[in-house]
């Protein structure tokens, strides 16, 4: 009985281990340090987005605009990052502030207009894509400074720089959600918005902050992507929001709010990364990879709801 319960609780983790073991047996390349460095480098962008959207989803909201924010901030960054134009800090700040601005705009519209987050961020998603195309005239922006390209392509002590960013952002987000008053309020607002308000929490402030944070992290993801592909692409980031939401959900974040962790989301991100990597190694077509992803998403949520029921 106890062991069955355990199995359910860690079901998704066990599934993950099984996938890893299978891949290790089938493909000798899978369990190598270089391959895992590739996996983590590949998932870094999705991780940043997923961490941001986890905060939003825990408050009971959603942010569909993050893919477009990646594109807009990417375009802004690329425009500012031509060689010998500005010091490195300027394009970085430009990208971050662009993301932050759009995030605040999302938060402002959601708290002031009382329109559902789904609708607001859907609108901003479309506007953002349009703005990216307008600024860039619909063309990719290339010829970026070498110092800038280090962000996505460089290494420190053999560790790719995106992984270092991933570790830092993971630690910060994790601590913010677990150890700060703001983090507690995020759970409270998502768990019962009315009760949180009646308990003296400034609910609108909390909501503003999560959308701003999500925007900021999307801006950072935009910088990372632009540097990795050494181009500003107005069409970059299409569908990224769905991967991020998928990772959060696989990691146990409840779409009705109040439940979720950054560690869980990181796990979701890695699972998606491993699955894609493994299927690549096995030369499985990307068409099938999508089918596998969908099965994992539904399976993870199914396991979760199963858990909630048995824990009653």
């Amino acid at each position: 009985m106890q062991s069955i319960k355990k199995l359910k609780e860690y079901g998704i983790f066990i599934a993950f281990l099984l996938i890893c073991i299978t891949l290790t047996i089938i493909s000798p390349q899978f369990l190598t340090i270089s391959n895992w460095l590739i996996i983590f480098t590949q998932v870094a962008i999705n991780a940043l987005l997923a961490f941001g959207v986890t905060f939003v989803i825990i408050t009971g909201g959603i942010d569909l605009s993050i893919g477009s924010v990646v594109a807009v901030s990417g375009i802004v960054v690329a425009t500012l990052a031509h060689p010998d134009q500005f010091p490195l800090i300027i394009p970085i700040l430009g990208g971050l502030l662009t993301g932050l601005f759009i995030g605040i705009l999302n938060g402002f519209l959601i708290t002031k207009s009382k329109i559902a987050p789904f609708i607001v961020t859907l609108g901003i998603m479309t506007i953002g894509r349009g703005v990216a195309l307008i600024i860039s005239n619909g063309r990719p922006i290339s010829n970026l400074a070498d110092s800038f390209n280090f962000i996505g392509g460089g290494e420190i002590l053999g560790i790719p720089f995106p992984i270092i960013i991933l570790i830092i952002v993971f630690s910060v987000c994790s601590i913010v959600l677990k150890k700060t008053v703001f983090g507690r309020y995020v759970y409270a607002v998502g768990g019962n918005e009315q009760a949180a308000w009646a308990s003296g929490i400034n609910v609108n402030q909390v909501k503003m902050a999560v959308y701003a944070l999500c925007g900021l992290l999307s801006g950072l993801a935009g910088i990372l992507l632009t540097s990795r592909i050494t181009t500003g692409q107005p069409n970059a980031g299409v569908g990224f929001e769905l991967d991020a939401i998928a990772a959060a959900v696989i990691g146990g974040t409840s779409t009705t709010g109040g439940i979720g962790t950054i560690t869980g989301t990181l796990f979701g991100v890695i699972l998606i990364g491993v699955l894609n990597n493994g299927l690549d190694l096995l030369n499985v077509s990307s068409y099938y990879q999508q089918v596998a992803m969908g099965i994992i998403i539904i399976g993870a949520v199914l396991l979760d709801s199963w858990n909630l029921k048995t824990n009653r």
């Binding site: 700060t180 008053v181 759970y187 409270a188 768990g191 019962n192 009653r312």
Partner: protein, 492 residues
């Protein structure tokens, strides 16, 4: 004896814990049978088994002499067992008639016959003597009217047994008497009612027999008129409770709260009162008299149009619950699910929720201080949870209420407003909350209690403010107040 429902030796365990232990229960045709027990006695599990929501581990159920095995909700409903829930389950965007006929719409080749269900619903409501338009959307009805619609729905299901779980918890006295008339009619038609309530006076007014459960075990069944109240209560709690309302005399301190000419159009007008440190002010009145509305306006959950709220003689400027807390006003809502606690957070995190800035530095929390304070409060209020890490979701109503009170107390209020503090709470926990209120009085807090239960208001208050239709009709001292003159002023 003409038995409609027989339950033999039902047992049920959840993850190793016996929730029901060998329960036997017999329901006669056309009787009102009260089922009593403290929260956690197993009443709701028992009802869930009768509803077919869960299956018993052992035992047998007979309906009209036929054994029922492996049933589900749908099946039980068809066989004639319906339940009126404590929290009403209805689709708020559908009309009254659409709700009554939900799941059994009349149709021809899947084309709905709307006029038919409206006609039948209206007729049904007429037989219940209630004036509700079947075309109204559910969300526009009062709680009392929604309950009447639930009953209409049960009747339309041709129910033989209707289970009523705390049906009067949100009803005014007049609505309660309408409900009781309906119950008597149902009895005469041979329908049996299982009546669950914590309100003793109602049990004695409406029930024919009483069955008591305690800690998942069957204790006794007796005819109501042969079952004195003190014996009944001691059977329920398993010990004697001498005086439900422990009276404490305290020295009245300074005036804490002064309300001057408080008015909100359409809700209340010209409200004037004061509350001192070490004093309990009761607010009485019928449902809809504006009791809760006044509390919401004082505690910053709602606004008011004119008048003043003063704390320690200083005028306040309150725009949100957060502002009110800064002035030392704490509010415990009548609706603890909606406004009280965060279900997925632990006991600890709920208790500390309103006081977070107190034990944080630069936005970071001090885990150890939070733990200490929450443990202390948990101990003081005798919250029964497996640990303070347990989710509030999984606690009984009484313990959830204690958590909410604990949260407000930890924010260190000067005045605490308790709105229906014992609604849906069993006798044992009620008694503990009354003792707690006295403790607060001794500590020098100003306390306001709003309650629909007159014995509670009479037993606990030093002075009683009576409201009628949004206006204040009397402030009675303890010596003046009786049930009769409170009612007199309440219907003024």
């Amino acid at each position: 004896m003409n038995l409609i429902l027989e339950v033999h030796n039902i047992s049920k365990s959840f993850s190793g814990v016996k929730v029901l232990d060998n329960i036997t229960f017999k329901l006669e045709k056309g009787e009102v049978h009260a089922l009593l027990g403290e929260n956690g006695a197993g009443k709701s599990t028992f009802m869930k088994i009768l509803m077919g929501l869960i299956q018993p581990d052992a035992g047998k159920i007979f309906l009209e002499g036929n054994e029922i095995k492996h049933s589900n909700v749908h099946d039980m409903m068809k066989r004639g067992i319906s339940m009126i829930h404590q929290e009403i389950l209805m689709v708020s965007e559908l009309t009254v008639a659409q709700n009554i006929f939900l799941g059994k719409e009349t149709h021809r080749f899947n084309w709905l016959n709307e006029s038919d269900i409206y006609q039948k619903s209206q007729q049904l409501l007429k037989t219940l003597n209630v004036e509700i338009d079947a075309h109204t959307k559910m969300k526009f009805l009062s709680i009392a009217d929604r309950q009447m619609v639930e009953i209409a729905k049960a009747i339309s299901n041709k129910a033989k047994v209707i289970i009523m779980d705390e049906p009067t918890s949100a009803l005014s006295d007049r609505e309660v008497s309408t409900l009781f008339t309906i119950i008597k009619d149902l009895k005469n038609q041979g329908v049996s009612v299982i009546y669950i309530s914590h309100k003793m006076d109602e049990i004695y007014k409406i029930s024919d027999r009483i069955t008591v459960l305690r800690d998942g075990k069957y204790i006794t069944t007796k005819n109501t008129h042969e079952f004195p109240q003190n014996e009944l209560i001691s059977m329920m709690v398993g010990r004697e409770i001498e005086d439900l309302f422990p009276v404490i005399e305290t020295v009245r301190g300074n005036t804490i709260l002064t309300v001057k000419n408080l008015t909100k159009k359409g809700k209340f007008e010209g409200i004037n009162f004061e509350v001192c440190a070490g004093e309990v002010l009761g607010i009485a009145g019928l449902v809809g008299a504006g009791r809760t509305e006044i509390a919401l306006s004082i505690a910053g959950l709602d606004t008011f149009d004119s008048g003043m709220v003063l704390i320690d003689g200083q005028e306040t400027n309150i725009k949100s619950p957060k502002d009110a807390m800064k002035y030392g006003i704490g509010y415990v809502s009548e609706d603890r699910k909606a406004l009280g606690f965060i279900p997925h957070l632990s006991v600890k995190h709920n208790i500390t929720l309103s006081s977070m800035p107190k034990f944080s530095k630069a936005g970071f929390m001090s885990d150890s201080r939070e733990e200490t304070l929450a443990l202390q409060m948990n101990h003081d209020l005798k919250i029964r949870a497996s640990s303070i890490q347990q989710k509030v979701l999984n606690l009984s109503g009484g313990n959830q209420q204690k958590v909410v009170i604990g949260k407000v107390l930890l924010s260190n209020p000067k005045i605490i407003i308790l709105d229906e503090p014992t609604r849906g709470i069993d006798v044992g926990a009620k008694f503990e909350i009354y003792k707690l209120i006295n403790d607060l009085k001794i500590k020098g807090l100003a306390v306001i209690i709003i309650s629909s239960e007159l014995p509670e208001i009479l037993g606990m208050s030093d002075r009683i403010l009576v409201l009628s239709k949004g206006k204040q009709t009397a402030i009675l001292s303890k010596s003046e107040a009786t049930q009769e003159n409170i009612m007199h002023y309440a219907v003024h």
